[in-house]
Protein backbone atom coordinates (compact mmCIF):
# COMPACT_ATOMS: atom_id res chain seq x y z
CA UNK A 1 0.00 0.00 0.00
CA UNK A 2 1.32 3.37 -1.03
CA UNK A 3 1.57 6.19 1.41
CA UNK A 4 2.39 9.66 0.27
CA UNK A 5 3.64 12.14 2.82
CA UNK A 6 3.57 15.91 2.91
CA UNK A 7 7.31 15.80 2.17
CA UNK A 8 6.66 13.76 -1.00
CA UNK A 9 4.04 16.26 -2.12
CA UNK A 10 6.48 19.14 -1.51
CA UNK A 11 9.21 17.32 -3.44
CA UNK A 12 6.98 16.61 -6.42
CA UNK A 13 5.49 20.11 -6.39
CA UNK A 14 8.98 21.52 -6.61
CA UNK A 15 9.79 19.28 -9.59
CA UNK A 16 6.57 20.37 -11.25
CA UNK A 17 7.27 24.06 -10.50
CA UNK A 18 4.15 24.48 -8.40
CA UNK A 19 3.85 26.34 -5.13
CA UNK A 20 1.40 24.90 -2.61
CA UNK A 21 0.16 26.38 0.64
CA UNK A 22 -0.35 24.23 3.74
CA UNK A 23 -4.07 23.68 3.11
CA UNK A 24 -3.37 22.52 -0.43
CA UNK A 25 -0.59 20.20 0.75
CA UNK A 26 -2.83 18.62 3.34
CA UNK A 27 -5.66 18.13 0.86
CA UNK A 28 -3.30 16.66 -1.77
CA UNK A 29 -1.78 14.16 0.67
CA UNK A 30 -5.29 12.76 1.12
CA UNK A 31 -6.38 12.92 -2.53
CA UNK A 32 -3.19 11.63 -4.08
CA UNK A 33 -2.95 8.93 -1.41
CA UNK A 34 -6.41 7.69 -2.26
CA UNK A 35 -5.66 7.66 -6.00
CA UNK A 36 -2.30 5.92 -5.47
CA UNK A 37 -3.96 3.25 -3.33
CA UNK A 38 -6.41 2.62 -6.12
CA UNK A 39 -3.57 2.48 -8.66
CA UNK A 40 -1.80 -0.11 -6.50
CA UNK A 41 -4.38 -2.52 -7.85
CA UNK A 42 -2.00 -3.06 -10.76
CA UNK A 43 0.34 -4.94 -8.43
CA UNK A 44 -2.16 -7.81 -8.41
CA UNK A 45 -0.96 -8.54 -11.94
CA UNK A 46 2.18 -10.46 -12.76
CA UNK A 47 3.70 -8.53 -15.66
CA UNK A 48 7.10 -10.25 -15.77
CA UNK A 49 8.09 -10.69 -19.39
CA UNK A 50 5.33 -8.41 -20.72
CA UNK A 51 6.61 -5.81 -23.18
CA UNK A 52 5.74 -2.24 -22.17
CA UNK A 53 3.59 -0.40 -24.68
CA UNK A 54 4.65 3.21 -25.17
CA UNK A 55 2.29 3.86 -28.01
CA UNK A 56 -0.43 2.06 -29.95
CA UNK A 57 1.39 2.48 -33.21
CA UNK A 58 4.60 0.62 -33.72
CA UNK A 59 6.30 3.82 -34.83
CA UNK A 60 9.99 4.41 -34.59
CA UNK A 61 11.43 7.78 -35.54
CA UNK A 62 9.52 9.45 -38.33
CA UNK A 63 11.90 11.33 -40.57
CA UNK A 64 11.18 13.98 -43.15
CA UNK A 65 13.37 15.90 -45.56
CA UNK A 66 15.04 18.92 -44.04
CA UNK A 67 13.54 21.50 -46.34
CA UNK A 68 13.35 25.23 -45.95
CA UNK A 69 9.75 26.37 -45.66
CA UNK A 70 8.17 29.62 -44.51
CA UNK A 71 7.65 29.85 -40.75
CA UNK A 72 5.19 31.97 -38.85
CA UNK A 73 5.70 35.74 -39.09
CA UNK A 74 7.45 37.16 -36.02
CA UNK A 75 4.73 39.70 -35.26
CA UNK A 76 2.07 36.97 -35.26
CA UNK A 77 4.03 34.87 -32.82
CA UNK A 78 4.98 37.85 -30.66
CA UNK A 79 1.37 38.95 -30.22
CA UNK A 80 1.06 36.44 -27.37
CA UNK A 81 4.35 37.31 -25.67
CA UNK A 82 3.78 38.60 -22.13
CA UNK A 83 6.79 40.93 -22.45
CA UNK A 84 8.95 41.69 -25.48
CA UNK A 85 11.01 44.39 -27.12
CA UNK A 86 9.62 43.74 -30.60
CA UNK A 87 12.47 41.39 -31.47
CA UNK A 88 13.00 39.24 -28.39
CA UNK A 89 10.80 37.87 -25.65
CA UNK A 90 11.90 39.29 -22.30
CA UNK A 91 12.10 37.35 -19.03
CA UNK A 92 13.43 38.24 -15.56
CA UNK A 93 17.21 38.33 -15.35
CA UNK A 94 18.74 34.83 -15.33
CA UNK A 95 22.34 35.49 -14.23
CA UNK A 96 23.41 37.57 -11.27
CA UNK A 97 25.38 40.73 -11.81
CA UNK A 98 24.82 43.87 -13.89
Amino acid sequence: MSTITEKDVEYVANLAQLTLDDTQKERLVGELGKILNYIDKLNELDTDGVEPMMHVQALSNVFRKDEIAPSLPRETVMQNAPKDDGEYILVPQILDGD
Binding site: L18, I35, L42, P52, V56, N80, P82, P92
Partner: protein, 494 residues
Amino acid sequence: MSNSINLKTAHGLRDAIRGKEISAREAAEAYLNHIDAVDGDVRAYTDVWRDSALTRADTIDAQLAKGEDPGPLAGVPIGLKDLICTTEGTTACCSKLLKGFVSPFNATVADRLNAAGAVVLGKLNMDEFAMGSSTENSSIDTTRNPWNFDCVPGGSSGGSAAAVSAYECAIALGSDTGGSIRQPAACCGCVGMKPTYGRVSRYGLVAFASSLDQIGPFTRDVEDCALTLNTICGYDRRDSTSADLEVPDFTTSLTGDVKGMRVGLPKEYFTDALGAEIRDKIDTAVRVLESCGAEVVEVSLPHTEYAVATYYIICTAEASANLARFDGVRYGNRAMDATSPEEMYKQTKSAGFGPEVQRRILLGTYVLSSGYYDAYYLKAQKVRTLIKQDFDAAFEQCDVILTPTAPTPAFRIGEKSDDPLSMYLSDIYTISANLAGLPGISLPCGLTESGLPAGLQILGRPFEEGAVLQAAYAYEQNSGIELGAPTAIAESVS
Protein backbone atom coordinates in the same frame (compact mmCIF):
# COMPACT_ATOMS: atom_id res chain seq x y z
CA MET B 1 -38.44 29.69 -40.44
CA SER B 2 -35.43 29.87 -38.19
CA ASN B 3 -36.76 27.10 -35.98
CA SER B 4 -37.01 24.49 -38.70
CA ILE B 5 -33.42 25.27 -39.68
CA ASN B 6 -32.03 24.29 -36.27
CA LEU B 7 -33.93 21.03 -36.25
CA LYS B 8 -32.35 19.83 -39.49
CA THR B 9 -29.47 17.40 -39.46
CA ALA B 10 -26.19 18.71 -40.87
CA HIS B 11 -26.63 16.74 -44.08
CA GLY B 12 -30.25 17.91 -44.39
CA LEU B 13 -29.23 21.52 -43.89
CA ARG B 14 -26.29 21.15 -46.27
CA ASP B 15 -28.64 19.81 -48.97
CA ALA B 16 -31.07 22.68 -48.42
CA ILE B 17 -28.22 25.21 -48.67
CA ARG B 18 -26.77 23.60 -51.77
CA GLY B 19 -30.29 23.52 -53.25
CA LYS B 20 -30.65 27.23 -52.36
CA GLU B 21 -33.81 26.59 -50.33
CA ILE B 22 -32.05 28.16 -47.36
CA SER B 23 -29.09 30.53 -47.56
CA ALA B 24 -25.98 29.96 -45.49
CA ARG B 25 -26.63 33.35 -43.90
CA GLU B 26 -30.16 32.33 -42.86
CA ALA B 27 -28.71 29.17 -41.34
CA ALA B 28 -26.00 31.05 -39.45
CA GLU B 29 -28.52 33.64 -38.22
CA ALA B 30 -30.94 30.96 -37.06
CA TYR B 31 -28.21 29.32 -35.02
CA LEU B 32 -26.84 32.58 -33.63
CA ASN B 33 -30.36 33.67 -32.58
CA HIS B 34 -30.98 30.33 -30.92
CA ILE B 35 -27.65 30.61 -29.07
CA ASP B 36 -28.80 34.02 -27.82
CA ALA B 37 -32.06 32.45 -26.66
CA VAL B 38 -30.78 29.39 -24.81
CA ASP B 39 -27.08 29.66 -24.08
CA GLY B 40 -27.66 31.77 -20.98
CA ASP B 41 -29.07 28.55 -19.52
CA VAL B 42 -26.91 25.94 -21.24
CA ARG B 43 -23.61 27.86 -21.15
CA ALA B 44 -22.03 25.73 -23.86
CA TYR B 45 -20.18 28.53 -25.66
CA THR B 46 -17.19 30.37 -24.29
CA ASP B 47 -16.96 32.63 -27.34
CA VAL B 48 -19.47 33.27 -30.14
CA TRP B 49 -18.04 34.54 -33.42
CA ARG B 50 -21.14 36.38 -34.65
CA ASP B 51 -19.46 38.67 -37.18
CA SER B 52 -16.98 36.23 -38.65
CA ALA B 53 -19.65 33.52 -38.90
CA LEU B 54 -21.97 35.80 -40.88
CA THR B 55 -19.14 36.98 -43.13
CA ARG B 56 -18.17 33.38 -43.74
CA ALA B 57 -21.80 32.43 -44.50
CA ASP B 58 -21.97 35.26 -47.05
CA THR B 59 -18.86 33.84 -48.72
CA ILE B 60 -20.57 30.45 -48.99
CA ASP B 61 -23.69 32.07 -50.46
CA ALA B 62 -21.54 33.99 -52.95
CA GLN B 63 -19.86 30.74 -54.03
CA LEU B 64 -23.25 29.13 -54.53
CA ALA B 65 -24.50 32.14 -56.50
CA LYS B 66 -21.56 31.68 -58.87
CA GLY B 67 -22.43 28.03 -59.32
CA GLU B 68 -19.47 26.80 -57.26
CA ASP B 69 -19.79 23.99 -54.71
CA PRO B 70 -18.54 25.19 -51.31
CA GLY B 71 -18.00 21.58 -50.19
CA PRO B 72 -19.63 18.69 -48.39
CA LEU B 73 -20.41 20.80 -45.29
CA ALA B 74 -21.61 23.84 -47.26
CA GLY B 75 -22.95 26.39 -44.80
CA VAL B 76 -23.19 23.95 -41.88
CA PRO B 77 -22.80 25.76 -38.53
CA ILE B 78 -20.16 24.15 -36.34
CA GLY B 79 -18.72 24.69 -32.86
CA LEU B 80 -15.19 23.84 -31.74
CA LYS B 81 -13.92 22.76 -28.34
CA ASP B 82 -11.76 25.47 -26.81
CA LEU B 83 -8.53 23.43 -27.24
CA ILE B 84 -8.63 23.39 -31.05
CA CYS B 85 -6.39 26.19 -32.27
CA THR B 86 -7.96 28.86 -34.45
CA THR B 87 -6.56 32.19 -35.59
CA GLU B 88 -10.07 33.59 -35.10
CA GLY B 89 -11.03 34.31 -31.49
CA THR B 90 -9.07 32.80 -28.63
CA THR B 91 -7.96 29.27 -27.76
CA ALA B 92 -7.74 29.10 -23.99
CA CYS B 93 -8.48 25.44 -23.10
CA CYS B 94 -10.82 27.04 -20.55
CA SER B 95 -7.75 27.75 -18.43
CA LYS B 96 -6.93 30.98 -16.63
CA LEU B 97 -3.36 30.42 -17.74
CA LEU B 98 -4.24 30.72 -21.45
CA LYS B 99 -7.05 33.27 -21.16
CA GLY B 100 -6.81 35.55 -24.18
CA PHE B 101 -4.38 33.36 -26.12
CA VAL B 102 -4.68 33.92 -29.87
CA SER B 103 -3.30 31.05 -31.88
CA PRO B 104 -0.91 32.07 -34.66
CA PHE B 105 -2.14 29.11 -36.74
CA ASN B 106 -5.22 26.98 -37.37
CA ALA B 107 -5.46 23.35 -36.32
CA THR B 108 -5.52 21.03 -39.33
CA VAL B 109 -9.13 20.07 -38.51
CA ALA B 110 -10.14 23.74 -38.54
CA ASP B 111 -8.57 24.19 -41.98
CA ARG B 112 -10.27 21.03 -43.22
CA LEU B 113 -13.68 22.16 -41.97
CA ASN B 114 -13.22 25.53 -43.65
CA ALA B 115 -12.21 23.84 -46.89
CA ALA B 116 -15.39 21.75 -46.70
CA GLY B 117 -17.58 24.85 -46.48
CA ALA B 118 -18.42 24.77 -42.77
CA VAL B 119 -19.26 27.95 -40.85
CA VAL B 120 -17.64 28.01 -37.41
CA LEU B 121 -19.84 29.73 -34.82
CA GLY B 122 -17.39 29.82 -31.95
CA LYS B 123 -15.63 27.98 -29.16
CA LEU B 124 -17.13 25.56 -26.68
CA ASN B 125 -16.67 24.99 -22.97
CA MET B 126 -14.61 22.11 -21.54
CA ASP B 127 -12.86 20.93 -18.44
CA GLU B 128 -9.60 22.86 -18.17
CA PHE B 129 -7.04 21.25 -20.51
CA ALA B 130 -9.58 18.43 -21.09
CA MET B 131 -9.10 17.08 -17.57
CA GLY B 132 -12.42 16.02 -16.15
CA SER B 133 -15.67 14.19 -16.80
CA SER B 134 -18.21 16.91 -16.00
CA THR B 135 -17.03 20.29 -17.41
CA GLU B 136 -17.03 21.52 -13.80
CA ASN B 137 -13.26 22.03 -14.09
CA SER B 138 -13.67 24.83 -16.62
CA SER B 139 -12.25 28.12 -15.34
CA ILE B 140 -15.09 29.91 -17.13
CA ASP B 141 -18.37 28.27 -16.19
CA THR B 142 -20.08 24.91 -15.75
CA THR B 143 -22.08 23.89 -18.80
CA ARG B 144 -25.57 22.55 -18.00
CA ASN B 145 -27.04 19.36 -19.37
CA PRO B 146 -29.79 20.45 -21.82
CA TRP B 147 -31.98 17.60 -20.51
CA ASN B 148 -31.75 18.81 -16.92
CA PHE B 149 -29.97 22.01 -16.00
CA ASP B 150 -29.13 20.62 -12.53
CA CYS B 151 -27.01 17.89 -14.12
CA VAL B 152 -23.57 17.95 -15.71
CA PRO B 153 -23.22 17.51 -19.48
CA GLY B 154 -20.35 15.06 -18.94
CA GLY B 155 -16.82 15.93 -19.98
CA SER B 156 -14.36 16.93 -20.82
CA SER B 157 -16.04 18.01 -24.10
CA GLY B 158 -19.24 18.95 -22.24
CA GLY B 159 -19.75 22.20 -24.14
CA SER B 160 -19.54 20.38 -27.49
CA ALA B 161 -22.07 17.73 -26.44
CA ALA B 162 -24.49 20.21 -24.89
CA ALA B 163 -24.30 22.56 -27.90
CA VAL B 164 -25.25 19.78 -30.33
CA SER B 165 -28.04 18.46 -28.09
CA ALA B 166 -29.42 21.95 -27.49
CA TYR B 167 -29.41 22.66 -31.28
CA GLU B 168 -26.82 25.42 -30.80
CA CYS B 169 -24.72 24.00 -33.65
CA ALA B 170 -25.27 21.23 -36.18
CA ILE B 171 -21.89 19.61 -35.54
CA ALA B 172 -19.25 20.13 -32.87
CA LEU B 173 -15.70 18.88 -32.58
CA GLY B 174 -14.26 17.67 -29.31
CA SER B 175 -11.33 15.57 -28.18
CA ASP B 176 -11.27 12.20 -26.46
CA THR B 177 -8.36 11.09 -24.25
CA GLY B 178 -10.23 8.66 -22.00
CA GLY B 179 -13.84 9.12 -23.08
CA SER B 180 -14.11 12.90 -23.35
CA ILE B 181 -16.23 12.67 -26.52
CA ARG B 182 -18.22 9.49 -25.89
CA GLN B 183 -19.15 10.06 -22.24
CA PRO B 184 -20.58 13.60 -22.74
CA ALA B 185 -22.34 12.43 -25.92
CA ALA B 186 -24.02 9.74 -23.80
CA CYS B 187 -24.90 12.24 -21.05
CA CYS B 188 -26.42 14.73 -23.52
CA GLY B 189 -28.09 12.29 -25.91
CA CYS B 190 -26.15 12.88 -29.11
CA VAL B 191 -23.78 10.87 -31.30
CA GLY B 192 -20.09 11.20 -30.43
CA MET B 193 -17.19 9.38 -32.02
CA LYS B 194 -13.54 8.92 -31.23
CA PRO B 195 -11.80 7.73 -34.39
CA THR B 196 -8.83 5.37 -34.31
CA TYR B 197 -5.68 6.93 -32.86
CA GLY B 198 -3.88 8.39 -35.87
CA ARG B 199 -6.96 8.85 -38.07
CA VAL B 200 -7.26 12.57 -37.40
CA SER B 201 -4.35 14.98 -37.29
CA ARG B 202 -3.64 16.35 -33.82
CA TYR B 203 -1.81 19.37 -35.25
CA GLY B 204 -3.25 22.36 -33.43
CA LEU B 205 -4.96 20.27 -30.75
CA VAL B 206 -3.53 21.45 -27.43
CA ALA B 207 -2.04 18.23 -26.05
CA PHE B 208 -3.21 16.56 -22.85
CA ALA B 209 -1.85 12.98 -23.23
CA SER B 210 -0.26 12.62 -26.63
CA SER B 211 -0.47 8.84 -26.95
CA LEU B 212 -4.21 8.88 -26.17
CA ASP B 213 -5.68 12.15 -27.53
CA GLN B 214 -7.87 12.06 -30.62
CA ILE B 215 -10.23 14.61 -32.17
CA GLY B 216 -13.74 13.57 -33.16
CA PRO B 217 -17.26 14.79 -33.95
CA PHE B 218 -20.49 15.30 -32.03
CA THR B 219 -23.55 15.08 -34.26
CA ARG B 220 -27.28 14.51 -34.08
CA ASP B 221 -27.21 11.35 -36.19
CA VAL B 222 -24.82 8.70 -37.48
CA GLU B 223 -24.89 9.97 -41.06
CA ASP B 224 -23.64 13.38 -39.91
CA CYS B 225 -20.91 11.59 -37.97
CA ALA B 226 -19.75 9.75 -41.12
CA LEU B 227 -19.90 12.99 -43.09
CA THR B 228 -17.74 14.82 -40.56
CA LEU B 229 -15.21 11.98 -40.44
CA ASN B 230 -14.90 12.20 -44.23
CA THR B 231 -13.79 15.80 -43.78
CA ILE B 232 -11.49 15.60 -40.76
CA CYS B 233 -9.70 12.25 -41.25
CA GLY B 234 -6.48 11.82 -43.17
CA TYR B 235 -2.72 11.98 -43.08
CA ASP B 236 -1.07 15.26 -42.16
CA ARG B 237 2.67 15.76 -42.44
CA ARG B 238 2.45 18.16 -39.49
CA ASP B 239 1.42 15.29 -37.19
CA SER B 240 3.90 12.46 -37.55
CA THR B 241 1.56 10.09 -35.67
CA SER B 242 -1.25 10.63 -38.15
CA ALA B 243 -1.77 7.49 -40.20
CA ASP B 244 -0.70 7.52 -43.82
CA LEU B 245 -3.67 5.40 -44.89
CA GLU B 246 -6.37 5.97 -47.42
CA VAL B 247 -9.57 7.33 -45.88
CA PRO B 248 -12.65 5.54 -47.18
CA ASP B 249 -15.94 7.33 -47.84
CA PHE B 250 -17.52 6.50 -44.48
CA THR B 251 -21.04 7.17 -45.73
CA THR B 252 -20.80 3.98 -47.82
CA SER B 253 -20.84 2.01 -44.54
CA LEU B 254 -24.35 3.29 -43.78
CA THR B 255 -26.14 0.38 -45.40
CA GLY B 256 -28.56 -0.45 -42.61
CA ASP B 257 -27.51 -4.07 -43.02
CA VAL B 258 -25.60 -6.00 -40.36
CA LYS B 259 -26.38 -9.54 -41.52
CA GLY B 260 -23.62 -11.86 -40.40
CA MET B 261 -21.81 -9.16 -38.41
CA ARG B 262 -20.51 -10.58 -35.13
CA VAL B 263 -21.29 -8.33 -32.17
CA GLY B 264 -19.23 -9.05 -29.05
CA LEU B 265 -20.51 -8.42 -25.52
CA PRO B 266 -17.63 -8.27 -23.03
CA LYS B 267 -18.80 -10.06 -19.91
CA GLU B 268 -16.60 -7.88 -17.67
CA TYR B 269 -18.64 -4.79 -18.60
CA PHE B 270 -21.95 -6.23 -17.43
CA THR B 271 -21.38 -6.36 -13.69
CA ASP B 272 -23.15 -4.89 -10.67
CA ALA B 273 -21.36 -1.58 -11.27
CA LEU B 274 -23.72 -1.07 -14.20
CA GLY B 275 -27.05 0.47 -13.23
CA ALA B 276 -30.10 -1.74 -13.96
CA GLU B 277 -31.81 0.89 -16.07
CA ILE B 278 -28.84 1.35 -18.39
CA ARG B 279 -28.34 -2.39 -18.54
CA ASP B 280 -31.93 -2.90 -19.74
CA LYS B 281 -31.41 -0.39 -22.51
CA ILE B 282 -28.22 -2.08 -23.65
CA ASP B 283 -29.98 -5.46 -23.63
CA THR B 284 -32.70 -3.97 -25.82
CA ALA B 285 -30.07 -2.55 -28.18
CA VAL B 286 -28.48 -5.99 -28.48
CA ARG B 287 -31.86 -7.44 -29.47
CA VAL B 288 -32.33 -4.72 -32.10
CA LEU B 289 -29.05 -5.62 -33.77
CA GLU B 290 -29.85 -9.32 -33.45
CA SER B 291 -33.18 -8.77 -35.18
CA CYS B 292 -31.26 -7.06 -38.00
CA GLY B 293 -29.25 -10.23 -38.55
CA ALA B 294 -26.19 -9.63 -36.35
CA GLU B 295 -24.76 -12.59 -34.50
CA VAL B 296 -24.21 -11.92 -30.79
CA VAL B 297 -21.24 -13.54 -29.06
CA GLU B 298 -19.91 -13.24 -25.54
CA VAL B 299 -16.29 -12.12 -25.38
CA SER B 300 -13.89 -11.56 -22.51
CA LEU B 301 -11.66 -8.58 -21.78
CA PRO B 302 -10.08 -9.92 -18.59
CA HIS B 303 -7.98 -6.85 -17.76
CA THR B 304 -10.92 -4.42 -17.83
CA GLU B 305 -10.77 -3.76 -14.10
CA TYR B 306 -7.21 -2.46 -14.43
CA ALA B 307 -7.94 0.06 -17.19
CA VAL B 308 -8.75 3.08 -15.01
CA ALA B 309 -5.60 2.65 -12.88
CA THR B 310 -3.45 2.17 -15.98
CA TYR B 311 -5.00 5.20 -17.62
CA TYR B 312 -4.45 7.52 -14.67
CA ILE B 313 -0.76 6.67 -14.58
CA ILE B 314 -0.20 7.08 -18.31
CA CYS B 315 -2.36 10.14 -18.89
CA THR B 316 -1.03 12.05 -15.90
CA ALA B 317 2.58 11.17 -16.78
CA GLU B 318 2.11 12.44 -20.33
CA ALA B 319 0.19 15.48 -19.09
CA SER B 320 2.92 16.44 -16.65
CA ALA B 321 5.38 16.53 -19.54
CA ASN B 322 3.02 18.28 -21.98
CA LEU B 323 1.88 20.97 -19.58
CA ALA B 324 5.42 21.88 -18.50
CA ARG B 325 5.46 24.24 -21.50
CA PHE B 326 2.93 26.60 -19.91
CA ASP B 327 5.60 28.50 -18.04
CA GLY B 328 4.60 32.04 -18.99
CA VAL B 329 7.64 32.69 -21.18
CA ARG B 330 6.30 32.89 -24.73
CA TYR B 331 2.55 33.13 -24.13
CA GLY B 332 -0.02 32.77 -21.38
CA ASN B 333 -0.71 34.87 -18.32
CA ARG B 334 2.72 35.36 -16.82
CA ALA B 335 3.16 36.34 -13.19
CA MET B 336 4.66 39.75 -13.95
CA ASP B 337 6.02 40.49 -10.47
CA ALA B 338 8.48 37.62 -10.40
CA THR B 339 12.11 38.64 -10.08
CA SER B 340 13.71 35.40 -11.29
CA PRO B 341 12.76 32.93 -14.04
CA GLU B 342 12.15 30.16 -11.51
CA GLU B 343 9.80 32.33 -9.51
CA MET B 344 8.06 33.30 -12.75
CA TYR B 345 7.47 29.65 -13.72
CA LYS B 346 6.17 28.73 -10.28
CA GLN B 347 3.92 31.72 -9.83
CA THR B 348 2.56 31.50 -13.37
CA LYS B 349 1.68 27.82 -13.06
CA SER B 350 0.36 27.99 -9.52
CA ALA B 351 -1.95 30.90 -10.33
CA GLY B 352 -2.90 29.71 -13.81
CA PHE B 353 -3.70 26.02 -13.40
CA GLY B 354 -6.89 24.98 -11.60
CA PRO B 355 -6.98 22.33 -8.84
CA GLU B 356 -7.65 19.27 -11.07
CA VAL B 357 -4.88 20.20 -13.50
CA GLN B 358 -2.44 20.70 -10.61
CA ARG B 359 -3.51 17.37 -9.12
CA ARG B 360 -2.83 15.54 -12.38
CA ILE B 361 0.49 17.30 -12.95
CA LEU B 362 1.57 16.29 -9.43
CA LEU B 363 0.41 12.70 -9.87
CA GLY B 364 2.14 12.48 -13.25
CA THR B 365 5.33 13.97 -11.87
CA TYR B 366 5.20 11.50 -8.98
CA VAL B 367 4.78 8.38 -11.15
CA LEU B 368 7.66 9.51 -13.36
CA SER B 369 9.95 10.53 -10.51
CA SER B 370 13.13 8.72 -9.67
CA GLY B 371 12.42 5.56 -7.68
CA TYR B 372 8.79 5.30 -8.77
CA TYR B 373 9.13 5.11 -12.54
CA ASP B 374 9.33 1.32 -12.72
CA ALA B 375 6.68 0.73 -10.08
CA TYR B 376 4.12 2.98 -11.72
CA TYR B 377 4.86 4.17 -15.23
CA LEU B 378 6.59 1.07 -16.57
CA LYS B 379 4.06 -1.16 -14.82
CA ALA B 380 1.19 0.75 -16.44
CA GLN B 381 2.77 0.45 -19.87
CA LYS B 382 2.97 -3.31 -19.39
CA VAL B 383 -0.66 -3.52 -18.33
CA ARG B 384 -1.51 -1.39 -21.36
CA THR B 385 -0.02 -4.19 -23.47
CA LEU B 386 -2.26 -6.72 -21.70
CA ILE B 387 -5.34 -4.56 -22.30
CA LYS B 388 -4.47 -4.24 -26.00
CA GLN B 389 -3.96 -8.01 -26.22
CA ASP B 390 -7.41 -8.57 -24.68
CA PHE B 391 -8.95 -6.59 -27.53
CA ASP B 392 -6.84 -8.33 -30.18
CA ALA B 393 -8.13 -11.68 -28.91
CA ALA B 394 -11.73 -10.49 -28.64
CA PHE B 395 -11.69 -9.12 -32.17
CA GLU B 396 -10.84 -12.59 -33.46
CA GLN B 397 -14.29 -13.65 -32.28
CA CYS B 398 -16.28 -10.57 -33.22
CA ASP B 399 -16.30 -7.59 -35.60
CA VAL B 400 -17.50 -4.94 -33.18
CA ILE B 401 -17.87 -4.77 -29.41
CA LEU B 402 -21.00 -3.37 -27.82
CA THR B 403 -21.05 -1.88 -24.30
CA PRO B 404 -22.70 0.85 -22.30
CA THR B 405 -20.88 4.19 -22.66
CA ALA B 406 -21.14 5.14 -18.99
CA PRO B 407 -22.34 3.24 -15.92
CA THR B 408 -24.92 5.89 -14.99
CA PRO B 409 -26.72 8.77 -16.71
CA ALA B 410 -25.50 12.33 -16.10
CA PHE B 411 -24.92 13.04 -12.42
CA ARG B 412 -25.86 16.21 -10.61
CA ILE B 413 -23.62 19.27 -10.61
CA GLY B 414 -21.41 19.13 -7.52
CA GLU B 415 -22.16 15.46 -6.83
CA LYS B 416 -18.64 14.21 -7.55
CA SER B 417 -16.57 17.37 -7.57
CA ASP B 418 -15.03 16.67 -4.15
CA ASP B 419 -14.10 13.09 -4.97
CA PRO B 420 -11.60 12.86 -7.84
CA LEU B 421 -11.48 9.06 -7.80
CA SER B 422 -15.24 8.62 -8.16
CA MET B 423 -15.13 11.15 -11.01
CA TYR B 424 -12.37 9.09 -12.70
CA LEU B 425 -14.54 5.98 -12.47
CA SER B 426 -17.23 7.55 -14.69
CA ASP B 427 -14.90 6.76 -17.60
CA ILE B 428 -14.64 3.06 -16.77
CA TYR B 429 -16.16 1.87 -20.07
CA THR B 430 -14.49 4.37 -22.38
CA ILE B 431 -10.87 4.42 -21.24
CA SER B 432 -9.79 1.08 -22.72
CA ALA B 433 -10.44 2.23 -26.30
CA ASN B 434 -7.89 5.02 -25.83
CA LEU B 435 -5.33 2.70 -24.25
CA ALA B 436 -5.76 0.27 -27.15
CA GLY B 437 -6.12 2.97 -29.84
CA LEU B 438 -9.52 1.76 -31.06
CA PRO B 439 -12.35 3.66 -32.75
CA GLY B 440 -15.52 4.01 -30.69
CA ILE B 441 -18.89 5.68 -30.97
CA SER B 442 -21.56 6.54 -28.43
CA LEU B 443 -25.14 6.91 -29.57
CA PRO B 444 -28.37 7.51 -27.69
CA CYS B 445 -30.29 4.40 -26.63
CA GLY B 446 -33.22 6.00 -24.84
CA LEU B 447 -34.12 8.10 -21.82
CA THR B 448 -34.11 6.89 -18.24
CA GLU B 449 -37.11 7.24 -15.91
CA SER B 450 -35.64 10.53 -14.74
CA GLY B 451 -35.59 11.81 -18.32
CA LEU B 452 -31.83 11.64 -18.90
CA PRO B 453 -30.22 10.09 -21.99
CA ALA B 454 -28.39 6.75 -21.89
CA GLY B 455 -25.53 5.92 -24.25
CA LEU B 456 -24.64 2.80 -26.21
CA GLN B 457 -20.97 2.37 -27.12
CA ILE B 458 -19.72 0.44 -30.15
CA LEU B 459 -15.98 -0.25 -30.51
CA GLY B 460 -14.16 -1.55 -33.57
CA ARG B 461 -10.77 -2.79 -34.71
CA PRO B 462 -8.16 -0.11 -35.43
CA PHE B 463 -9.01 1.80 -38.63
CA GLU B 464 -12.33 -0.03 -38.99
CA GLU B 465 -14.52 3.00 -38.29
CA GLY B 466 -16.66 1.70 -41.16
CA ALA B 467 -17.80 -1.37 -39.19
CA VAL B 468 -18.55 0.78 -36.14
CA LEU B 469 -20.63 3.19 -38.24
CA GLN B 470 -22.37 0.30 -40.00
CA ALA B 471 -23.53 -1.20 -36.70
CA ALA B 472 -24.41 2.23 -35.28
CA TYR B 473 -26.46 3.18 -38.32
CA ALA B 474 -28.34 -0.14 -38.34
CA TYR B 475 -29.16 0.34 -34.67
CA GLU B 476 -30.23 3.95 -35.18
CA GLN B 477 -32.49 3.10 -38.13
CA ASN B 478 -34.13 0.12 -36.42
CA SER B 479 -34.28 1.02 -32.73
CA GLY B 480 -37.21 3.39 -33.07
CA ILE B 481 -35.41 5.69 -30.65
CA GLU B 482 -35.46 9.37 -31.41
CA LEU B 483 -34.87 11.60 -28.44
CA GLY B 484 -35.95 14.84 -30.10
CA ALA B 485 -35.31 18.16 -28.41
CA PRO B 486 -34.89 18.42 -24.62
CA THR B 487 -38.00 20.03 -23.07
CA ALA B 488 -36.21 23.18 -21.95
CA ILE B 489 -34.86 23.71 -25.46
CA ALA B 490 -37.93 22.60 -27.43
CA GLU B 491 -39.80 25.85 -26.89
CA SER B 492 -37.13 27.81 -28.70
CA VAL B 493 -36.78 25.44 -31.67
CA SER B 494 -40.20 23.90 -32.25
